[in-house]
Amino acid sequence: MGTFSRHRLAAVALATIGALLATSGCAGEDAADDGQITLTVDVFGQLGYDQLYQEYMDANPGVKIVERGTGSNLDEYSPRLTQWLAAGKGAGDIVAIEEGLMVEYKANPDNFVNLLDHGAGELKGNFLEWKWNQGLTADGQKLIGLGTDVGGMAMCYRTDLFAKAGLPTERDEVSKLWPTWEDYIAVGERFKAANTGASFLDAATNTFNTIVLQTAGKAQGYHYYDTSDNLVVDSNPAVKQAWDTTMKIIGAGLSGKYGSWSEEWVSAFKQAKFATIACPAWMTGVIEGNAGTEASGKWDIARVPGDGGNWGGSHLAVPAQGKQKEEAIKLVKFLTSPQGQIGAFKAKGPLPSSPQALNDPAIAEATNAYFSGAPIGTIFAEGAKTLKPVYMGPKNQAVRTEVENAVRTVELGQRTPEQGWQDAVTNAKKAAAK
C-alpha cells in the first residue's frame, strides 16, 4: 500500500518535471485555427492603420491582423523590441522602427528580412529618396524597412488660451507672429504677462528637439554625429545654437515643465495647462489622444518658427524570426504603399513619406476637424517634399537621451545653463562610449 502510493507520487513528480520542461522549452506554437493565419503588427504611438487592416482583411479572407502597442511611447517599445530580437522569439510578424533607432537595428541586418530579396527594389520610386535610404544598410545591399511617415513640423496651439491672452487666434495671423524663434519667445512673454493660468509651452525638451533638427537640417545635415560617425555634440555649432535658443525659452519662464510623455504631461493636455506645442505631423494624433474629444475645435496648427525640418517618422520591418514572412511582406507593402500612407494620414495624421501620396489631392486638400479644420495637408506636406533630413549616428538614441536630460535639468532649475551644457557634453560622450 505504502509503496504503491509512493510510486504514484513519484510518477506525479516526474510528470510535473516533464510538464515544466515542456512549457519552458517549447511554449505555444502559433496554431492556425480554421486555416486562418494571424499577422501581428507591433507599433508605438498612433500609426492610424485600423481602417487599412480592415480593408486588407476584407480583400484577404485568410488573414487576421492584430496590432500590439498602440499608444505606447518609444521608450517602452524599443527595449521590448530589442529583447525580442535578441531572444529570437516574441516579435510581431511586422514591427515599426523609428528613424532614430533604425541606425542601431541596421547595424545587425540579419535580424530582419532583406526586403530587396522580395521585390521591394521596384518600390523605390514610392518613397522620398532620403526616407528610402534610411532603411538601407550602409553597403546598400540590404533593405531593413519600408518608410511609413515623416515628421514635417508645425506649431500646434490652443485658440481658447490665445484668445484669453488677447493674442490673435486665426492660424495665418498666428503664423505671422513668429517667423523666428526670437519672435516666438516674444509672443510667449506677451502670453505669460496675460496670466491665463497656463504656460506658453509644454516642455522645453520637445521644443529643443524641434529646433536642433531644424538648425542641423539647415546647416550640415547632421546633429550629434557627423556623417563619418564621429561624435560632434560639443563642436557642432547647430547643436549649441539650438541649445542656446532653448535656454532663452527656459530663461523667459515659458515652459510648463511637464516632462514629455509623462502622466503629468497627459494631465496638462486635459486641463489645458499650456498653449503651444512643437508639433511634428505625428504629434497631431498624440494631441488628439491626450486632450480628448472635449478639446476638439480648440486646437489649431500654425507654421513652426524658423524653417521646416523633420522630426521622427518610422519604417515597417519584418523580423527574420517570423513564421509567416511572405504574408507579412505583402502586408508591409500594402501598408507603406502610397494609398496605405494616405489612409494612415487621414486616420491619425502621420505624414506620408511617399511623393505620390504627398502630391495626392487627398493629402493636399485634407483638413482636420479636431484642429479647427486646419488644412493639415498643405501645412505639413509643403515642407516635407523639400526638407533636408538629419543624419543619425550609431548611438543616436543614447546621446539624444543625455542631451534631452540636460535640457530637463536646466528646465527644472537643478542646473544652470552652463552646467547643463557641460553635463550634456560629458554624458553624451560617456553614452557614446558604452
Binding site: N108, E263, W265
Partner: protein, 335 residues
C-alpha cells in the same frame, strides 16, 4: 504488503522466489531513492530558472556583448573594472541603499508594533488580521501608478495637502531625497502588513505563561514586549530582515513606474532615484544595449545583497543579545 511477500517467499517455488525478491529489491530502491525524486522538482526548477541564468549571466558579463550583435568578444573582467570606476553605478548603489534603509527600518518596526496589536484580544480579530494583508495583494504596478500620481509636482494630492497647510510644493520626482521618501512610502504601504502577519504567527507560538510569569514579576506591557516578545522573535526578525534585504535591494517596479515619460529608467533627469536594477536594465537594454555591462551590474548587485544581508544578521544578533531579559537561564529553559 512488503512484509506479507517476505513471509510467503521461502515456501514459494523458484520462479516465484526470484519474482518476490525483485519486488523486495524494488521496494528497497524505492525507500532509498524516491525521497530524492520527491524533492527533485524544486532543484530542477531552480537549476533551470535560478542556477543556469546565474551562470549564464556571469559568462555574459565577461564579454563585450552587444544585445543585437552576433559575435561577442571575450574581455575578461573588463566590465567589472569599468563598472567600479563608473560614477553612475555608485550613484545607483547609494540610491538603492538609501531607499532600502528609509523603507525597511520603519517598515519592520511598524510591522512589529502592528503584530503586537493584532496579538491582543480584539473584536473582529480575523478581519483586522486579513485587512493588513490587503495592500500586499494589490498589483505593484497599480500601486506605483497611483503613488506616482499622488506625488505629482503640479496635479498631485500630496502637494495639494502640503499647500493647504502652507508648505510649498515639493519636487517629488526630481529631488533626490524626496523621491526616496515617496518610493519608500510605496514600499512600506505594500509590505508592512505582510511582515506583520509573519511576526504575528511567530508571536502566537510564544507560550502565554511566559507573559504571566513576567506580569507576576511586575513587568508592564512595554517591558514584556521588549524583554519577552522581541528576544523570542529574533529568528523571525532575522528571516524578515533577510527577505526585506533581498526585496529592497532589488527594487525595480516602484521606482520605475514612479517616473513616467521620456526615459523613465533613469529615475529622474539626474538619476535621483535610479536603483541598481534600473541601472542594470538601462545598460543591458535601452538605450545602451550593452548586455555584458548590464550583466556585470547584476553580479555586483548579487554581491551587495550578500554583504548587506550578512551585516544585517550580525546587527540583529547584537541587538537581540543587548535587550535580553535579566533572568536568562529561565527563558533558556523554555526554548
Amino acid at each position: 504488503m512488503a512484509l506479507q511477500l517476505d513471509a510467503r517467499g521461502p515456501t514459494g517455488p523458484a520462479p516465484g522466489r526470484s519474482r518476490l525478491s525483485r519486488a523486495g529489491r524494488l521496494s528497497r530502491i524505492d525507500a532509498k531513492y524516491s525521497p530524492y525524486l520527491y524533492i527533485a522538482p524544486f532543484f530542477v526548477v531552480f537549476a533551470i530558472f535560478g542556477a543556469w541564468p546565474l551562470a549564464y549571466t556571469f559568462w555574459v558579463s565577461l564579454h563585450d556583448w552587444d544585445l543585437l550583435g552576433s559575435d561577442p568578444t571575450f574581455i575578461g573582467v573588463d566590465n567589472y573594472t569599468r563598472l567600479l570606476a563608473d560614477g553612475d553605478f555608485w550613484h545607483a548603489v547609494v540610491n538603492t541603499l538609501g531607499i532600502f534603509v528609509i523603507s525597511t527600518v520603519p517598515q519592520l518596526l511598524l510591522a512589529l508594533w502592528l503584530a503586537n496589536l493584532l496579538n491582543r484580544q480584539l473584536r473582529m480579530r480575523t478581519g483586522w488580521r486579513m485587512a493588513v494583508l490587503v495592500p500586499n495583494v494589490t498589483s505593484t504596478a497599480a500601486v506605483a501608478i497611483v503613488f506616482g500620481v499622488l506625488f505629482g509636482r503640479e496635479f498631485g494630492m500630496v502637494n495639494w495637502l502640503l499647500d493647504l497647510v502652507g508648505i510649498d510644493g515639493i519636487e517629488w520626482k526630481s529631488n533626490r531625497f524626496a523621491s526616496w521618501v515617496a518610493i519608500s512610502a510605496m514600499v512600506d504601504w505594500r509590505w508592512t502588513g505582510y511582515n506583520a502577519l509573519i511576526f504575528l504567527a511567530a508571536m502566537q507560538a510564544i507560550p502565554r505563561d511566559l507573559y504571566e510569569a513576567a506580569a507576576i514579576d511586575g513587568a508592564n506591557r512595554a517591558r514584556q514586549f521588549w524583554s519577552v516578545t522581541v528576544p523570542l522573535l529574533k529568528p523571525t526578525i532575522i528571516f524578515c530582515v533577510i527577505i526585506s534585504t533581498i526585496g529592497g535591494l532589488q527594487l525595480f517596479t516602484e521606482p520605475r513606474l514612479f517616473h513616467s515619460g521620456t526615459n523613465p529608467i533613469r529615475g529622474g533627469p539626474l538619476r535621483e532615484s535610479q536603483t541598481m536594477t534600473m541601472y542594470m536594465f538601462e545598460n543591458a537594454f535601452a538605450p545602451y544595449y550593452n548586455f555584458g555591462y548590464g550583466s556585470a551590474v547584476a553580479w555586483l548587485l548579487f554581491a551587495l545583497i550578500a554583504i548587506v544581508a550578512a551585516i544585517n544578521v550580525l546587527i540583529i544578533r547584537r541587538v537581540g543579545s543587548g535587550t535580553r531579559p535579566p533572568r536568562d537561564a529561565r527563558k533558556g529553559g523554555f526554548r
